[in-house]
Every structure is written in C-alpha cells, then in structure tokens.
C-alpha cells in the first residue's frame, strides 16, 4: 500500500479509535468494564436472527430521514425538524388507518400517501416560517417538534383513545389491513426496506444529476448569488423542506404500520435527530449513508442490553454515536489544518 493511502486509512479510523478510548474512560468512570459493555452492545445486535431483523427495522427510518436530510443539507438548511416531520407522517397515517375501511392493497398505499402528505405539510410549514417569516429553520423545526409531540399525546389521550381508556402504550392496534407484511416471526418488513433503499438511491441521483439538485446546491453555496441568477430561493427552500418532509413522513408512517401497528407517544423514537448525525458522519454524501446507517442501527439495537445485563443506562449508545461524529468533525478539521500548513 502506498504511504498516502495508509495515511488516509489512519485518518479515517481515527474518529473510531478516539471514540473507543473516550467511551472506555467514561465507562471506567461509571465503574463498569468497557470491554464487557462494548461486547454487550455488539452481542445485543447480533445474538439472534430476531435481533438482526431489528437492525433492519432500525435501518428503515434512518435511511429515509437521512435521504430527506441530504436534500435540505444540499440547500444549506439545518433541518432539525425531521423528528416532527416523522411524527406528522405517523399522525396522518394513524388517521387513515383508524378511520378508513379498505382492503389491504388499497389500505397500505393509502397509509403511505397519508404519511408522506403529513410530512410534506410539516416540512412546508417550516419552509414557510423560514422563507416568509424569517424564522431560522433550526428554531422553527425544533419548536414544531415539540408541538408535534404534544399533538400526539393529545390525540392518544383524547380523540383517539382506546375504548377501555387511554394509556402510554398508545392507540388501539390498527386493523390488519393496515399492517405491513413481516418476515417470519421477526419485526422486519420487506416493503419499507425496499422503499428506503430506493429513496436513498433516488436522492443520490437527484442531487448528482438533476437540474433541481443543481439549483438546490447553488442556493446552499450562496443563496444571494443564486437569487441573482434567477433561482427562486424562497420557493425552492420550501420545496426542499417539503421533499424532506415526504421522506421523513414516510419513515413515521412505516413506524406505525410495520413496527408498532399503532400510534405510540414516542413514535419518532429520536430517529430524526439520529439521522442528522448520520448525514454529518457521511460527510453529506449519499454513497456513505448506508454504511453509517448500518453502524448506527447496530448500536441502537444492541445498547438496550446494557440495561438488562449490566444495569447501565442505554444512553451509552447515543454517547457512542454522537462521539464518533464529534471526533469525525474534529479529526477532519485537524487534517485540513495540517494540509493547509503543508500545502
């Protein structure tokens, strides 16, 4: 191997090594055995076919949300509102699933369309606030995330409460027609996975080859220059947020129809925030997203075992995920700094 490619490999591995070192220190500080804890996480994800299927379950919303967020990142937007867009999709889907009677081949497409519509609505609302109200999308998105969560609780404990009384476990189960078919006795489902894979490929080509992708990137690079070149900045920002909303809404929709078969209070499960980390760690490049998503899903599925076996809080998984991204940003900056010095 050449020296330069060896160096590249070392730079690429550095964030992971640094994360292992820091998380080991954190675990020692908390009085736990680092090797055992990290082993439990890996073991938790790979111990059985059922667990492996759970990794696939976690892949789907992460892929969909990350695909959507690549679009908004291209336009230079900090779309922290993905969580709320997911929730809006789940709410619209629940509304259809609980209110409409239809055979399965009508019902499932309907739930998907409803989910996307809900997400589009929520995303466009952020876009409107940003484009016409000059409210920074970080605050618009974040504020609407909290509103979406409150709306979910209101619906679960109000209009959509089960006949025997509302609980934190959510609404009544959907009718069977609104259940995505699953693989064997696992929780994984092929249709959402296929949609998610198609979505990330579509976004890759959209941003690389399409005219709209080019326009979004022009806005992301320099919004004022793009405006002078005759690109409708306001409108395209709203469209970008709506497009991301469609994909995030779809993610929320399949969380209800494929995973829980009902609406639960924390239906978005933090996947919206996580996908932000995914996209950052992918260096905003679609081709790296699947690998990062797989890595994050393994941690997501494996870390609850920390609670069962070691009485540690499963938030260690989140610590690992965000540390990798933090070190990735720091190492990248350091590398660029050194290269500037040399060159």
């Amino acid at each position: 191997m050449k020296r330069s490619s060896l160096a590249s490999l070392a730079w690429g591995l550095a964030p992971f090594v640094l994360t292992l070192i820091t998380s080991s220190l954190i675990l020692l500080f908390a009085g736990a055995d680092p090797l055992e804890a990290l082993g439990q996480i890996l073991g938790g994800a790979f111990e059985s076919t059922r667990k492996l299927a759970d990794v696939i379950v976690a892949l789907v919303p992460l892929l969909l949300c990350a695909a959507g967020m690549l679009i908004t990142f291209a336009a230079g937007l900090w779309n922290i509102g993905v969580e709320g867009q997911m929730i809006a999709g789940a709410l619209a889907t629940t509304w259809v699933a609980l209110g409409v009677k239809a055979p399965v081949y009508v019902m499932l497409p309907l739930t998907i369309i409803a989910g996307m519509a809900g997400g589009i609505l929520w995303g466009a609302l952020i876009g409107l606030l940003r484009s016409y109200g000059k409210v920074n999308e970080i605050f618009a998105g974040l504020g609407l995330n909290f509103c979406a969560t409150a709306l979910t609780n209101f619906l679960i404990f109000g209009p959509w409460k089960p006949p025997d009384g509302a609980t934190m476990s959510g609404t009544d189960p959907f009718p069977q027609e609104a259940w995505m078919p699953i693989i064997g006795n696992t929780r994984a489902s092929m249709i959402p996975l296929a949609i998610a894979i198609i979505a990330i490929i579509a976004v890759y080509f959209l941003l690389r080859d399409s005219y709209w992708g080019l326009k979004l990137k022009a806005i992301g690079q320099n919004a004022q220059a793009a405006q002078r070149m005759g690109i409708n900045t306001r409108g395209n920002l709203i469209l970008a947020l709506a497009a991301c909303g469609a994909l995030a809404g779809l993610a929320g929709s399949v969380q209800t129809t494929a995973v829980y078969h009902r609406l639960i209070p924390s239906i978005s499960g933090g996947y919206g925030y996580l996908s932000q980390l995914v996209v950052l760690l992918s260096g905003l490049r679609a081709e790296w997203v699947p690998l990062v998503v797989f890595f994050f899903s393994v941690i997501q599925v494996g870390s609850p075992r920390l609670e069962l076996r070691m009485q540690l809080d499963s938030s260690l998984g989140g610590v690992l995920q965000s540390s990798v991204v933090l070190f990735f940003l720091l190492v990248r900056g350091l590398r660029q700094k050194l290269e500037r010095k040399e060159g």
Partner: protein, 324 residues
C-alpha cells in the same frame, strides 16, 4: 390578601426564571463575540447533572456550582476550538454536542435519578427584605436569584460601558477592523465563549440546585433551545434578553395558574405552548410582519416599539475570522 398573592407570584416568577437568565446572558456574551454555541440544551442538562452530583457527593454547594461552570466552559471551548482553530461548522459541532451532552447526562446521572440532595437555602436579605412591595419581590429569594440580578447589570455595563466591552462588540461586528487595531480577535473569542459557557453551566446548576431540585432523565430538556431563542428575541442586548427570560417565566407560570381554572383545555396545549410561543416570538422580531404593524402605529410610538422588538445579530456572528 390579593396583593400578597400577586407579590408572591411575581417573586416566584423572578426566582424560577433565574436559570434561563444565566443561560441566555451567557449565550448573549458568546454571540456578541461572534460565536454561536448551539449546544445549550445539552450543556444545561450535563451541567445540571454535574452540579447536583458534585454538590451531593462533596456536601458543598459551591463545589457543585463550580463543577457545573467548568462543564459549561469545557463544552463551549470544544465549540470554540472546532470553529476557530479547525474551521468546522459551528452549528454542526454545536448540534452534535447537544446530543452528546444530553446522552452523557442520562448515562452518568442514572445512579442519581430522584435521589434527594442539597439545595440553595432561602435567604431574605436582612433589612432590604422589609421594604414594602419591593422587598418581598426582589429581596426574598436565595443567593442565586440575587446573583442573577447582578449578572444582568454587570454584563450590560461590561458590554455597553467599558473598554473591553467595546472590543467585545468590535470582534462580533467587524473583526477585520478590530484586528487591524491590534485586538486579538480569536483569543477574545475563546475567552468569551468559555465565560458564556460557564454562565450557561451556572444556569444548569441553578435548575438542579434551586429551581427544579434534583436530577431526572432529560431534567431540563427544551430549556436550552428556549434560551437560544430568547437571545434572538432580546436582540442580543442584556436587559432585553433578561426581560425575555422573565416574560417567558411569567407566561409559563400563567399556564400553570390557568390550567386548573380551565380543566377542559387539554394539558398538551400547555406543554406545547412554550415552543409555539417561541416561534411566534421569533416571527415577531424577525419577520416582515412587524414592519407592517409598525406602519399602523402613531409616529411617536413607532421608534419606541421598534427599539423594543427589533434587533439585529452581530454582523460577524457564526463567521470564522482568519487574521491575514
């Protein structure tokens, strides 16, 4: 009788808002220097946990507050280093730290969830607390509340009236010009980011040791975002920022007063209200909407209202500075 109730309400709003005052003032200092510390929501959680745990284990409140301020400053310094020395996006690093600190607070704080612990003692200022009306409102709290009043005045004075404050404003507005006059732009940015972060940390410990006692998962979740929004709402000026924090505290306690009065209104409305309010407040101060409303006001009132609602961010906010 009604008077005592009103006095008590105002007093409790002022006291309950003190963490937000600290955090929003800290962020104001940081942003006036040209750096955005987006990590507030995570920093407040981590410092609230650290402050509570250190105070509990050491038996010293002072050590607890010191630990929280060190945590706040340390997180802020990561952002400063990543953005100033390494030229990484401030929003990216800040957001990642938000999540990292929040999860770290849950992980490390787990053994201390709902453990009873120390709190800042109530301490009416002798003499001053007996002044009619003002006394029971302003001087009937704890040391932390008094510190928050002092912080508002000191930070306003520092930014507006002192020589170092002039430098602070210049590095946030026109770093190139400041640099050519010999102001060490980036070194000052490090310092103000760290000091601002320490104040945010103090705000975190103010929650766990005075306002919302103890520790639980996601103890203060959401408050950091509110503090960030209040800085914008307050137009980056200390008095208006503090006013924003108190206004928010007042509306929040109004919610808890109104909730039992209107039992038919779903509780979720009261949960979502602070964040809906945040969006509306930002719409008010940044949208074109305000301009149009101002046009309808009598000309005499216009500049007063405009100066209350309008405020522009420091011109170099979020932009890295490279000395030539």
């Amino acid at each position: 009788m009604a008077n005592t109730l009103i006095i008590e309400t105002i007093r409790s709003v002022l006291a309950a808002s003190s963490p937000l005052v600290f955090a929003a003032l800290g962020e104001t200092l940081t942003e006036r220097a040209g750096v955005v510390n987006l990590s507030l929501d995570g920093t407040i959680l981590l410092s609230a946990m650290a402050g509570f745990v250190v105070a509990l284990l050491s038996g010293s409140l002072m050590l607890g507050f010191a630990a929280a301020m060190v945590v706040g400053a340390a997180v802020a310094l990561i952002i400063a280093y990543a953005s100033i020395a390494l030229k990484q996006n401030q929003a990216a690093v800040g957001f990642v730290l938000t999540l990292l600190c929040a999860d770290l607070s849950s992980f490390l704080g787990q053994p201390f969830v709902r453990v009873p612990g120390p709190s800042v003692p109530h301490w009416p200022i002798p003499g001053l607390a007996d002044i009619p009306l003002i006394g029971p409102i302003l001087f009937n709290g704890d040391a932390l509340v008094y510190t928050s009043y002092a912080a508002i005045i000191v930070i306003w004075w520092w930014i507006a009236k002192t020589q170092p404050g002039l430098k602070l404003r210049s590095i946030g507005e026109r770093p190139e010009a400041a640099h050519s006059r010999g102001v060490p732009v980036n070194r000052l940015r490090y310092i103000y980011t760290a000091v601002g972060g320490a104040l945010v940390g103090l705000g975190g410990a103010a929650y766990s040791l005075s306002v919302k006692l103890g520790w639980s998962h996601r103890h203060t979740a959401g408050m950091g975002w509110i503090a960030l929004a209040i800085v914008i709402f307050g137009g980056w000026s200390p008095f208006r920022v503090a006013f924003g924090a108190y206004l928010f505290g007042f509306l929040k306690s109004l919610g808890s007063i109104l909730q039992p009065v209107y039992p038919n209104v779903p509780t979720q409305i009261f949960q979502a209200a602070p964040f809906a309010l945040m969006i509306v407040a930002l719409l008010l101060v940044s949208g074109d909407f305000t301009e149009r409303v101002l046009d309808y006001l009598p000309p005499k009132l216009r500049p007063i209202i405009a100066s209350l609602l309008r405020g522009s961010p420091p011109a170099a906010l979020g932009k890295p500075f490279e000395p030539q």
